[in-house]
């Protein structure tokens, strides 16, 4: 299985990454992708994602292991931006290639739920020049609960 799991430290284009990924998985019948962006929500001026070197990327690798174990994939791409970014900029890109459609879509869905609520990222937003840390959201925990066996 082709696999690419990385932290992205500067400006990037997830669409290019997905194009490269697609060329690596010629045997796949389908590729599902999710790209998350900094929502241009009213008054958010900037967003900063902090990570912890010793946990964040290793945690993403473990997540990739689990996704690869649960679904039969031809390829898996997990890219997550860190640092300071602005509304409209991409934060995360997950892409899964599989022989069958459902496997690809479910793998992306699962990886996104876990990246969002169970990965070592701390997020703060700047509004009106003031930074504030984002607390966990209840929605993320209910998203995650969907995958409990």
């Amino acid at each position: 299985m082709f696999r690419r799991v990385e932290l992205v430290r500067g400006h990037w284009d997830p669409n290019d990454a997905v194009g490269d990924f697609a060329s690596q998985v010629p045997a796949a019948g389908g590729i599902a992708t999710f790209v998350g962006k900094v929502r241009p929500d009213g008054d958010v001026e900037a967003l900063e994602l902090t990570h912890y070197e010793k946990l964040t990327l290793p945690g993403m690798e473990k997540l990739a292991d689990e996704v690869a174990k649960r679904w039969q994939l031809e390829g898996l791409l997990i890219l997550h931006r860190v640092g300071e970014m602005f509304p409209g900029e991409p934060i995360v890109c997950v892409s899964a290639a599989a022989k069958h459609r459902r496997a690809a879509i479910e793998a992306v869905d699962f990886a996104m739920d876990h990246l969002k609520s169970n990965s070592w990222f701390w997020k703060r937003e700047k509004r009106a020049g003031v930074w504030a840390w984002i607390e966990p959201r209840e929605q993320d925990h209910s998203d995650l609960a969907r995958w409990k066996d």
């Binding site: 010793k54 997020k123 703060r124």
Partner: protein
């Protein structure tokens, strides 16, 4: 080389620094003695986790760090 404390997320704001060196060995009580005011309260919260050299402790009260170790204080991740 002493123990390195690493503060993540809002704990870095409460600590006023990202990292701090303290003399080892360091157990849970020793760590709390280093953390004053709101930082100490945040560390005590259930949802704040502790990692030693990249391994998250199941029970943070079992902390046993030696000089050279890196002890990270991890508030709840942000999600969303």
């Amino acid at each position: 080389m002493p123990v390195t404390l690493v503060f993540l997320g809002k704990l870095a704001d409460l600590a006023g620094v990202d990292q701090k060196q303290v003399e080892g060995p360091l157990d849970w009580q020793g760590l709390l003695d280093e953390l004053h005011g709101p930082l100490g309260s945040a560390a005590r919260q259930d949802r704040t986790r502790i990692a030693v050299n990249g391994e998250v402790l199941a029970d943070k009260a079992a902390l046993e760090a030696e000089n050279g170790d890196e002890v990270a204080l991890l508030p709840p991740v942000s999600g969303g």
